[in-house]
Symmetry: C2
Subunit: 140 residues, 2 copies
């Protein structure tokens, strides 16, 4: 019981570190890193949104999100307009350039994911999604 929990946490820790490295390498030649990509994708999927919303969605530190957004703005992958409700915040959206880059990255990532996880049956994949959804929900 306690051992199982420890196993789960250890796996998540190690797989997380491994994936961060691998994804980072894969994205090297598009001049974006793995966390920047995660934020960009999040904005595309659920945006327009402000930084706080990004933080709670993907569980990054706000200072980290702030720096990532700064880079994405600088590279012209997202745009920012002052929030109507809150003068401290800015509403972020993905630019056409950003959408283009997401497309290219997803192709690479999908190919890699497929290769990496091809040994998993459809059933296993479903089980994985289900259980990870559950666990992710507990983190919030």
């Amino acid at each position: 019981m306690s051992a199982k929990r420890t196993t789960v946490v250890k796996h998540l820790l190690l797989l997380g570190a491994y994936l961060q490295r691998e994804a980072g390498r894969m994205l090297l030649d598009v001049d974006i890193n793995q966390q920047q990509f995660v934020v960009l994708k999040e904005i595309q999927e659920r945006g327009p949104m402000i930084q706080r919303e990004i933080c709670s969605a993907i569980l990054f530190e706000k200072s980290n999100v702030s720096k990532i957004v700064k880079k994405l703005l600088k590279s012209g992958l997202v745009t920012s307009i002052p929030s109507a409700e809150d003068a401290r915040a800015a509403s972020l959206s993905v630019t056409p350039k950003g959408r283009l880059l997401i497309g290219r990255c997803m192709k690479k990532l999908n190919a890699w994911n497929r290769k990496w996880l091809e040994g998993l049956s459809e059933k296993e994949l479903e089980a994985a999604v289900e259980v990870l959804d559950r666990i992710a929900a507990m983190a919030k």
Copy 2:
């Protein structure tokens, strides 16, 4: 299918980053970071072992493991004796001080894991272990 794979990878990426941060914070007051602890624990469980073995067991970069081991040696948590088989390598073991620290850390971590994952049923926990074992095996 492809979407499910993406979901799995995304969850692993985000949960990994989240856990690294949380575990790191939890270990702050024992002056060790999360990766150092993972390496230390690995040496305790499967040691004595050399750096290369650590790398392939936990999928860290060798330059990273080298630095981590250096710190563990400096803090007196592990000891190193020249490997009998290979003059380039050194065999690493956990010291009594290291074992002590592992005990203290495990207490903290177990408490935290329990609290975090208490919503998971025994069945779900088993499903999680099973599927993560499978996925971890594919990473090697």
